[in-house]
């Protein structure tokens, strides 16, 4: 479903993604794990047509996201890592807008919006403006919105960040259900290893822009001789904290972006 070969993305001198190759099979739940600043989001942005790769090839459902942007966009849905709602609009209007953008027919749209807003316990607040929502509510709304059209491939970039355990459970149950009934391929990133262990069929671990290990949760544990995915992850990526570096590179990215045009 997704093929990536020797993918590279550089921002100035920084190699955000440094020659990664992997494959996601149809109907699979694939987790992309890595410390902050490892290159997860950049990879997703390239796969979802938001960034052009510096070099390497990729295909999403047989299409090249860098060339066939519009066609590729028809194949996937995405829940972004950072907020992407219009806070001046109400929850319902945000859903409606998304439904129109993704060409969901009106009667299907109305019904699904109701179901999803109810599922994520936002139906009562559907006519409130998003700016009055708490962080968790906004996050739930983004997820509900991402599920409004049923795409072939769903990208979830740290979808559970800032969610309470109830909503988290709700999300993964729903995603698993969609994966099983609709054969939807799911590509996710998360920092919660227990989630990855629970839902993912296969996992790739990325660090410093390179893939350091790939396989099922079981295989990764065996490979590292550890008893949980969390330990396997730490064994593979070390236990130093990356925020510092990630922040610096994020700043560099900003500067590069500013001067590029």
């Amino acid at each position: 479903m997704i093929h990536v070969r020797d993918l590279v993305k550089t921002f100035g001198d920084i190699k955000a993604v440094d020659g990664i190759s992997f494959e996601v099979r149809p109907g699979e739940i694939f987790a992309f794990l890595g410390p902050n600043g490892a290159g997860k989001t950049t990879t997703i942005q390239m796969l979802t047509t938001l960034q052009r790769p510096t070099s390497g090839t990729m295909s999403v459902d047989g299409l090249d996201p860098a060339r066939n942007q519009l066609e590729t966009r028809r194949r996937f849905g995405i829940v972004f890592q950072d907020p992407s709602l219009d806070s001046e609009l109400t929850a319902y209007e945000n859903m409606e807008l998304h439904g129109v953008l993704y060409h969901v027919p009106r009667h299907v749209r109305t019904e699904r919006i109701r179901v999803l807003l109810t599922l994520f316990e936002l139906w009562e607040r559907r006519d409130s403006r998003v700016k009055t929502f708490s962080g968790g509510m906004k996050r739930r709304l983004e997820i509900a919105r991402g599920l409004l059209h049923t795409p072939k491939i769903l990208f979830l970039d740290e979808p559970t960040l800032g969610l309470d355990p109830q909503s988290r459970n709700q999300l993964w149950t729903h995603v698993k259900h969609l994966n099983e009934t609709e054969r939807m391929t799911v590509f996710l990133t998360t920092h919660y290893m227990d989630e990855a262990e629970r839902v993912a069929h296969r996992i790739a671990i990325i660090d410093h822009g390179r893939i350091v290990a790939q396989g099922s949760p079981e295989e990764l544990k065996q490979q590292t001789g550890t008893d949980s995915l969390e330990h396997a992850f730490l064994a593979l990526t070390g236990s130093s904290i990356r925020d510092e570096r990630a922040d610096a590179s994020e700043q560099m990215r900003q500067i590069v972006k500013m001067w590029r045009r």
Binding site: R73, F80, L89, E93, H98, L101, Q254
Partner: protein, 248 residues
């Protein structure tokens, strides 16, 4: 079509919901209208040019439309900052449709704003010469709005952060306004200023408005119309092109 409509609707809703901003954005044009209109009135009268309020009102309407439409285009920056832009950029719709919806929305709210200012002008004592030419004035208002909404989109697509906004304000928006002849007659200007006013699209917008409202046009309304259409086409192409190039 549905996509263009819903994005248009979004812009209009955002405008209608931000009442404090609407009121705030009336402040500056009102100052120009009332303070300059009445303050410079006697001098203007003495130089044999008639009523300054009559003269400046179309300029102030043009100014309000300029600000509103260019800001709505630059609103892209806000959408980038708050993340909503991504949501539209990954959607399976041609970028041209997204750009069209946004620009039409910006145009609409700018015309609403212009109409609001026109109402205030009427209350302040502005009297259009001929009511039959009001539709013509509305046409010019819409043209000004399209030109600058498209220009705003082009700028908003190119800029990366909010800090640059001040730059645009001081080195683009204010000069466009001051060089447009919104506040002074375009006749008998020093050559440098005369040239500068001629490359400013808003000059033709304000001139067209003056032609329609008070029957006083420096370039002639057909010229105004033609040049505004030309500017609109150029900026629309430019806006669409730079919008299609956006990467997050």
């Amino acid at each position: 079509m549905a996509v263009i409509y819903i994005l248009w609707l979004r812009e209009v809703k955002r405008y209608l919901r931000s009442r404090p901003q609407v009121i705030a954005s009336l402040g500056q044009p009102l100052l120009y209208l009332l303070v300059l209109g009445f303050g410079l009135g006697p001098v203007f009268q003495k130089s044999g040019q008639g009523s300054y309020l009559q003269f400046v009102a179309p300029g102030v309407i043009g100014m309000a439309i300029l600000f509103m439409s260019i800001f709505s285009g630059i609103g892209l920056l806000w959408d980038r900052q708050f993340g909503f832009l991504k949501e539209t950029l990954v959607a399976p719709v041609p970028r041209l449709h997204i750009m069209a919806g946004r620009t039409l929305g910006g145009t609409t709210i700018a015309v609403i704003q212009g109409t609001l200012i026109l109402t205030v002008c009427l209350l302040a004592g502005f009297r259009p010469q001929n009511l039959a030419t009001i539709p013509l004035a509305l046409l010019f208002m819409a043209l000004i709005a399209v030109v600058f909404a498209a220009l705003g989109t082009a700028i908003g697509s190119t800029l990366k952060d909010m800090q640059a906004f001040q730059l645009v304000m001081n080195f683009l928006v204010m000069p466009i306004f001051f060089l447009s002849g919104a506040l002074y007659p375009l006749a008998n200007l020093p050559i440098a200023l005369a040239l500068a006013t001629r490359v400013d699209p808003l000059s033709y917008g304000v001139d067209g408005l003056r032609g329609a409202f008070i029957g006083l046009s420096h370039f002639g309304m057909p010229t105004d119309f033609a040049i505004l259409c030309l500017a609109a086409s150029v900026f629309l192409v430019l806006g669409a092109w730079s919008f299609s190039k956006i990467e997050i």
